[in-house]
C-alpha cells in the first residue's frame, strides 16, 4: 500500500533484490552491485550464520575413525549408526530430550499462570514481581549456574546433583522467557472478543476455555518451543548443576578436548534440518491458509 504513495527515487528503492541487471557489460555488473549492495551484504551475513552449519553437515559424512578433524572421505556409516560403538552420544541425547520435555512442560505451565496474573489482574507488589521476572534474563548464565550450585551444596547431602537438578535449573532460567512471550500474546488480544462471549451468556470459565485460551494458544506454543530450545541447548548452567549426568551439549563440550566423534555431527545436523523443515512447513501451511481465506 505504501508503494502507491511513493514517488520517484524512493519507489526505485522499494523494489527489493533484483536478479536481472539492466545495461551491458562491466558497467552492468557495477550498476547491479550498486543497486543490490544491501542484498549482497545481507546474503554474506546469512552466509556467515550458516558457514559452521555447512561445516557440521559436511563432516557428518566424514569417514572419520576416531576424531573428526581431517576429511578422510565420504561415508553414510555415521548416519546409519548414529549411536556409535559406545552409545554415549545417544544416552546424552536422550537425557537432553527428557530434561527438555519435562522442563518445558513445567516452565510453560507455571509461566502461563504468571503471565495471566500480570496481564489480567491488578495487585499489590507488581513491581517486585516484575523485577524478579526480569532479573534471570539479565543475569549472566555463569552467575545463575554458580549460585544455584551454591544452594545445592549448602543443602548438604539432601540434594544429589543429576537429572532433577538439571530440570530445576532449566525451569528456572526458561520461566522468565515463557512469561514474557505469553504476556505479549495476551496483551495483543482484542478485548471485545471476550466481551462478546460474555454478552452471549458465557460464564467466566466458558469464556476462558472457549475464547481466551484458544486465542492465547499460539503464544503458549511459541513459549514452549522457546523453552525447549533454551533447555536443549544449554551448556553453562547445566555444567554447574549436572553432577556426572551427561546432556548433549555437555557431551559435546567435554569431547571437544580429544576430538568430537562424527556421530555428534550427525545429531547436530539432523536436528537442525528437522527443526528447519518443521518451521518452513508451518510457514508454508500458514501462507496457503491465508491465501485460501
Amino acid at each position: 500500500m505504501s508503494v502507491l504513495t511513493r514517488t520517484g527515487p524512493s519507489r526505485a528503492r522499494a523494489v527489493g533484490c533484483r536478479r536481472t541487471p539492466a545495461g551491458t557489460g562491466g558497467h552492468r555488473i557495477r550498476r547491479w552491485l550498486g543497486e543490490n549492495a544491501l542484498c549482497v551484504y545481507a546474503a554474506l551475513a546469512l552466509g556467515y550464520l550458516f558457514l559452521p552449519i555447512a561445516y557440521v553437515t559436511v563432516f557428518s559424512f566424514n569417514d572419520a575413525k576416531r576424531s573428526n578433524i581431517v576429511w578422510r572421505g565420504f561415508t553414510l556409516e555415521n548416519w546409519e549408526n548414529p549411536c556409535g560403538a559406545s552409545g554415549d552420544v545417544c544416552t546424552a541425547v536422550r537425557t537432553s530430550v527428557e530434561v527438555g520435555i519435562l522442563s518445558t512442560v513445567l516452565a510453560t505451565m507455571l509461566g502461563t499462570l504468571v503471565a495471566f496474573a500480570l496481564q489480567r489482574y491488578r495487585f499489590r507488589g507488581r513491581t517486585v514481581v516484575n523485577v524478579i521476572i526480569f532479573m534471570p534474563m539479565a543475569t549472566p548464565e555463569v552467575v545463575m549456574g554458580a549460585s544455584l550450585l551454591t544452594l545445592f551444596l549448602n543443602m548438604g547431602g539432601v540434594v544429589t546433583l543429576g537429572f532433577w537438578t538439571i530440570v530445576i535449573a532449566h525451569v528456572m532460567f526458561s520461566l522468565s522467557f515463557v512469561i514474557v512471550t505469553v504476556k505479549a500474546r495476551i496483551a495483543s488480544l482484542d478485548a471485545s472478543l471476550e466481551e462478546a462471549a460474555k454478552d452471549l451468556y458465557a460464564n467466566d470459565l466458558q469464556t476462558f476455555r472457549r475464547v481466551t485460551l484458544p486465542l492465547v494458544a499460539p503464544g503458549i506454543a511459541a513459549a514452549a518451543l522457546l523453552a525447549f530450545s533454551l533447555s536443549f541447548d544449554d551448556y553453562i548452567v547445566t555444567t554447574f548443576n549436572s553432577g556426572t549426568v551427561n546432556t548433549f551439549p555437555k557431551y559435546v563440550y567435554t569431547s571437544a578436548q580429544r576430538g568430537i566423534p562424527a556421530q555428534v555431527y550427525v545429531f547436530g545436523a539432523g536436528m537442525f534440518y528437522l527443526a528447519l523443515l518443521i518451521v518452513l512447513l508451518g510457514e508454508l501451511l500458514r501462507r496457503r491458509r491465508s491465501r485460501g481465506s
Binding site: Y41, A45, Y55, A117, S147, L175, I236, V264
Partner: protein
C-alpha cells in the same frame, strides 16, 4: 483489565441483595492473581533469588585454616572483593573489551541484515526471519567447535589467506583473541538482528518518505530518520548481545588460549575445578556490577530510559 472492570461493584446501584454477590466474588478475585503467581514465583524465589543471596553470603567467607578443600567459614571479609578484583582485573578488562567489540561487530553485521529484511524482503520476510533464528536449531557448542575447525591452521580459510599473502607464514587464527571475538559475534548475532528488525519494522514509512520529500538523500534519511527511530531496537540488541557475551566462557574456552581467558572462564574454573567458592562468588558479583554499571551508562547516553 477487562475482567476486573466488569466485576467491579457499582456503589450507586440500588438493592443490597444484588450487591452482595459481586462483592463476595471480588473478595475472591483478590486472591486469584496471587494464586496464579504463587507456583512460578515460588520457583524463581527458591531457585533464583535464594541462590543469589546464598552466593552473596559465600562471597565474604574465608577458607578454614587447615580444613579440607572447599571448606569455608563465614568471616564477613569484604576484602575478598578487592583481592579478586586486583588479581583478575586483566580478565575483567578482556571480558568488557571482547564483549564490546563483538557487540559492535554484531551491530555492523546485523543492522543492514535487519534493514534488508524489514524493507526489501517483501514476501520472503518471514522465511528470512526463520533463517536468522535457524542457527539456534543446531547445538551452539557444536557450531562454536566448527568455527575452531574452520579457522584451524590446516583449514581452507587460513591456507587461502596465506596463499594470498594476507597472512604471514606461521601465524594462525585459532587460539587468538580474534577467534574468540569472532565466535562471540557469531553466537550472539541473532540477538542483535531480531530486536533491530522489530523496531525497523514498526517505523511508519511515511516518515521516511517525508525525509525523501525534504530532499534528503538515502544516507541522510538513514542517519537522521531511520537510525534514530530504530534506536530502541539497537539498545535492546546491544544489551541482549553484550550481557551474555561478557559472561560467556564457551567461546574463550573453545576458541582461545589461557591468554585470552575471560572472567566467565575464571568463575567456572574457580568454582568447579578448584572449589574456591568465595573467589568465584566475588567475581560473579563484580561482573554483575560491571555489567550493570555499563548498561546504566549506556542507557543514560542513548536516552531510552523507558526500556527498563
Amino acid at each position: 483489565m477487562s475482567i476486573t472492570s466488569v466485576s467491579r461493584v457499582n456503589p450507586t446501584r440500588p438493592g443490597g441483595n444484588r450487591r452482595a454477590r459481586p462483592a463476595r466474588s471480588e473478595a475472591r478475585r483478590r486472591h486469584v492473581p496471587y494464586l496464579l503467581l504463587l507456583p512460578g514465583l515460588l520457583w524463581l524465589g527458591v531457585f533464583f533469588v535464594v541462590p543469589i543471596v546464598t552466593l552473596l553470603g559465600t562471597s565474604t567467607q574465608t577458607r578454614v585454616p587447615g580444613g579440607e578443600i572447599g571448606e569455608f567459614t563465614q568471616t564477613l571479609r569484604l576484602a575478598n572483593y578487592w583481592d579478586a578484583l586486583s588479581r583478575y582485573q586483566e580478565h575483567f578488562g578482556r571480558s568488557v573489551l571482547y564483549a564490546g567489540v563483538a557487540t559492535l561487530a554484531a551491530l555492523i553485521i546485523g543492522y543492514p541484515l535487519a534493514y534488508m529484511i524489514a524493507f526489501r524482503a517483501g514476501r520472503w520476510r518471514n522465511v528470512l526471519l526463520v533463517l536468522v533464528i535457524a542457527p539456534f536449531f543446531c547445538s551452539f557448542i557444536l557450531r562454536t567447535y566448527a568455527w575452531r575447525q574452520i579457522l584451524a591452521d590446516e583449514g581452507t580459510v587460513v591456507r587461502t589467506l596465506k596463499w594470498m599473502h594476507l597472512m604471514p607464514e606461521g601465524a594462525s587464527l585459532t587460539a587468538t583473541s580474534f577467534a574468540v571475538v569472532c565466535g562471540l559475534t557469531y553466537n550472539f548475532l541473532p540477538f542483535m538482528t531480531l530486536p533491530v528488525y522489530a523496531s525497523l519494522e514498526r517505523i511508519d514509512h511515511r516518515l521516511l518518505e517525508a525525509g525523501y520529500d525534504l530532499y534528503g538523500g538515502p544516507w541522510t534519511v538513514l542517519r537522521r530518520v531511520t537510525f534514530p527511530l530504530s534506536m530502541p531496537g539497537v539498545v535492546a540488541g546491544t544489551l541482549l548481545t553484550f550481557i551474555p557475551a561478557a559472561g560467556d566462557f564457551v567461546n574463550a574456552g573453545l576458541l582461545g588460549t589461557t591468554r585470552t581467558q575471560m572472567i566467565g572462564n575464571v568463575i567456572e574454573s574457580r568454582f568447579v575445578d578448584l572449589n574456591d567458592y568465595a573467589t568465584a562468588a566475588c567475581l560473579s558479583f563484580l561482573m554483575m556490577a560491571v555489567i550493570l554499571a555499563l548498561v546504566l551508562v549506556y542507557i543514560r547516553r542513548t536516552g531510552t530510559e523507558e526500556l527498563v
